[in-house]
Symmetry: C2
Subunit: 220 residues, 2 copies
């Protein structure tokens, strides 16, 4: 049987969800210090830690990030916003997500923090670079730290969401934050206290759909 | 001040480290069920959950994975095993890592579980695909689940380590586990109870080296 401590741990993981509507209230220094410490302990290939984060709180820089984000978000919505063929429940969920995403695009400059996640390919062992499909393994040394960051936000009651649309404006973001030539961007994570309830239950596939035993398609 | 619950949570994250020397003892069903449930709750782009895991416990299949792994591990070692220019402490750490890696390569078939992480590129929003550098963003929908999996292993006292060398034998691994043509491999995670102490302190860069304030190079 799990102890109280482990049960609490699992409860944190089960209730981590994307929180897009955030208040402008500042993040306490002590909470942020705990989040950064949890993040820096994440594993990475060969312990190379080829990731960095730029914590953007400067109003002018946040405003510029918001300006870059809004049109990509709008384009994303017009491409994916169809609820055709969905169940009423799924359609309602999608509309809620799009609404809160549009709120975020309009208010990003007021959010207390936007964390820009950077990486240097020379510090990653990209073992799938020769495969004839999109490479993902570099992310194995970046997104464990990102997940630690987001889990720690959840533990502190701070909402956040992993966004990657700004990668399409990588040059502008690098220039804005003086990111060196050999470092690139992997994500932008807006952080702040939730407008609404924030964390809670999430909709996910059941274990049987995600895990197989020894052979693809065989139940665990 | 953090409560006891959050302090325990952070302690789990701080003491997660690669554990490569594992015992053959089986993993209790209840522990595994908690790990899979924690994993399935991880976030992914658009909640598409474009990842799956094949839990390999079949002795013949584990043996084959070990056969595929050992020569790539040896090649990796001969390429990276130089301790030239390292401090004595760093060199000793590297030799310990290589020793335990070689133990793993020789004993992988005896480990109770090897989890093979799969993904389908069609279920990922790879927003950095047009950038003139290696793509990593697909990993943003895979490795948060991997990190949940490994953190849950740590909470259960089970050792594990994220390995990606087997991606170099992706076709053989796909064939062995009947992975469909449009799904690929992102990692292999051997799991079992530690031979030694298992979890504990890790060596990581300090916060000042990893996080910047508003501008690259500026202290947080």
């Amino acid at each position: 049987m799990p102890s109280h401590d482990t049960e609490t741990f699992y409860e944190f993981l089960r209730t981590q969800r994307a929180v897009r509507k955030l208040r402008p209230d500042p993040i306490p220094d002590e909470a942020l210090a705990r989040i950064l410490d949890a993040t820096r302990h994440a594993p990475s290939g060969g312990n190379r830690q080829g990731w960095r984060m730029v914590m953007v709180t400067d109003p002018a820089k946040k405003a510029r990030l918001g300006e870059l984000y809004a049109p990509i978000w709008e384009a994303y919505c017009s491409k994916y916003a169809s609820t055709e063929g969905m169940t009423p429940e799924a359609a309602a969920g999608m509309i809620r997500t799009l609404d809160s995403g549009s709120y975020m695009a309009a208010h990003m400059h007021e959010y207390p923090l936007i964390a820009i996640v950077c990486f240097n390919p020379e510090h990653l062992a990209v073992t799938d670079i020769e495969q004839d499909r999109v490479s993902v393994v570099g992310g194995g040394s970046i997104y464990p730290a990102v997940q630690n960051f987001m889990l720690a936000c959840r533990v502190e009651g701070l909402g956040c969401v992993l966004t990657t649309l700004l990668c399409q404006h990588e040059l502008e973001v690098k220039s804005l934050l003086s990111i060196p030539e050999d470092w690139y961007t992997a994500a932008a994570i807006p952080v702040g206290y939730p407008v609404g309830k924030g964390y809670g239950p999430v909709r996910r596939l059941p274990v049987e759909a995600l895990f197989f035993q020894d052979t693809w398609g065989e139940s665990v």
